[in-house]
């Protein structure tokens, strides 16, 4: 009888707190529809790994090491960066780069909106995080889950769990985080600026050559980004080539869903109470918010600066869509534009900046790694 109840004595209050955190993640996923495909498995996983002597994670029981399935999945899918890369094939197959190809200048907004990554690196270092952790925290500003996982894991950060939670949570919170920053940095007149959409068509050859050329360019300038960019662009090539419709559909739906499912559960292996409940976790969540704020500000301020030098004015709000969170950021800008003027449709420009942000965030991850890992 003792054997049945003895595990109660192993339960700690920290583990109960982690159950509550898991419950909150599940609640946010179901009730608030916040990145449910990831937050729900992560929430359940947080409960799973915080049951005393959980058989889901590796434990040493009576001096014998018992391997847990989540650690097996972690070693096989995250420690070697496989899951985030495979997920990128699916994401690449989902993205339509046409709004960007018709107006390549929008790529500049994607670049400017990566400012939050580097600003957060400075902030995290000032708060005393070692460079590998500061850079891993900073990459939350990529607003791109797989890139965050890839970089944090590449640098062997001790804070993979909180970093991934912050990355996906703030992505889901973009509609709440961005509008006040955009309004603070722009005037009513600026938010009403109209942008003409030519809607010129792009040739099939351009759509096919684009992912190949971007891979080569990014690979030459930032070789450490080539796996990320390459898998993203491979997914897009499958989509655009016109002869792999079935594979494209599989990548967009089945592959992306399966990997997301595995990723969510596996990430939870890093959410054990002993390592997760710390002051650093709170600091990481705060720094993640800082990263998103500076990303948004970087894009908007770049738009304002651009207007000083160009005849054809751009709506600086487009800059906020330069963060990678797709399609939330472009929807936010579109809605803010409509709120100021019901006939001002900014969606196509914002979508162009948003997909540019997808590419730029991956490049930013590669550039960051190239600069600090020598």
């Amino acid at each position: 009888m003792d054997a049945i109840f003895q595990n109660f004595s192993n339960l700690t209050w920290q583990q109960v707190v982690m159950w509550a955190i898991g419950g909150i993640l599940i609640y946010l996923a179901i009730k608030k529809d916040m990145e449910p495909s990831l937050l729900l498995p992560m929430g359940f996983g947080a409960i799973l790994v915080n049951i005393p002597m959980s058989g889901a994670i590796t434990q040493i029981i009576d001096g014998v090491k018992e391997i847990g399935v989540l650690n097996v999945l972690f070693d096989g899918g995250i420690a070697n960066e496989l899951f985030p890369l495979l997920l990128f094939i699916g994401i690449g197959a989902m993205i339509d780069f046409e709004p960007l190809l018709t107006n390549p200048k929008l790529m500049l907004f994607g670049a400017a909106a990566q400012f939050g990554i580097f600003a957060t690196l400075v902030g995290a270092s000032l708060l005393g995080f070692p460079l590998k952790d500061a850079a891993s925290i900073a990459i939350i500003g990529a607003a791109d889950g797989p890139t965050s996982i890839f970089v944090a894991n590449y640098l062997h950060s001790n804070f993979l769990g909180p970093i991934i939670i912050a990355a996906y949570s703030y992505m889901a919170l973009v509609p709440i985080v961005q509008p006040p920053i955009i309004k603070l940095l722009t005037t009513k007149k600026e938010r009403r600026i109209r942008m003409e959409y030519t809607g010129s068509s792009v040739s099939q050859a351009t759509k096919i050559l684009f992912p190949i050329i971007v891979t080569v360019i990014a690979g030459i300038f930032a070789p450490r980004s080539v796996a990320l960019v390459g898998f993203l662009m491979f997914g897009n090539l499958i989509r655009e080539c016109g002869v792999l419709g079935s594979l494209s559909e599989t990548a967009q739906k089945v592959l992306a869903n399966l990997i997301t499912l595995m990723l969510g559960l596996t990430v939870a292996a890093n959410m054990q109470a002993a390592s997760f409940l710390s002051l650093q976790t709170l600091m990481i969540l705060a720094l993640g918010l800082v990263a998103f704020i500076f990303d948004t500000a970087g894009g908007v301020v770049f738009g304002k600066v651009m207007n000083l030098f160009t005849k054809k004015k751009v709506n600086p709000m487009i800059g906020a869509a330069g963060i990678s969170a797709f399609p939330m950021a472009s929807r936010v800008v579109h809605k803010l534009g409509l709120a100021e003027d019901k006939t001002n449709h900014l969606l196509m420009h914002a979508a162009g900046a948003n997909v540019a942000g997808q590419i730029a965030s991956v490049i930013a991850g590669g550039v960051l790694l190239s600069l600090i890992v020598k």
Binding site: S125, P130, L131, A205
Partner: protein, 50 residues
């Protein structure tokens, strides 16, 4: 760089400057490429040729 140590402000500011410069350089290269692709393979140009 020592990844295990806290980087001084001068180092992280340098990474900030170089990082943003690097992203803009790659971005500029991509913009030029897209512009060239659009010029060389635009559907309207093909129509004119035919």
């Amino acid at each position: 760089m020592n990844l295990e140590a806290v980087a001084p402000l001068s180092d992280t500011m340098g990474i900030l400057g170089l990082g943003m410069l690097g992203i803009f350089i790659v971005t500029a290269a991509i913009i030029i490429t897209i512009t060239l692709l659009n010029l060389l393979a635009s559907p309207s140009k093909k129509r004119k040729r035919s």
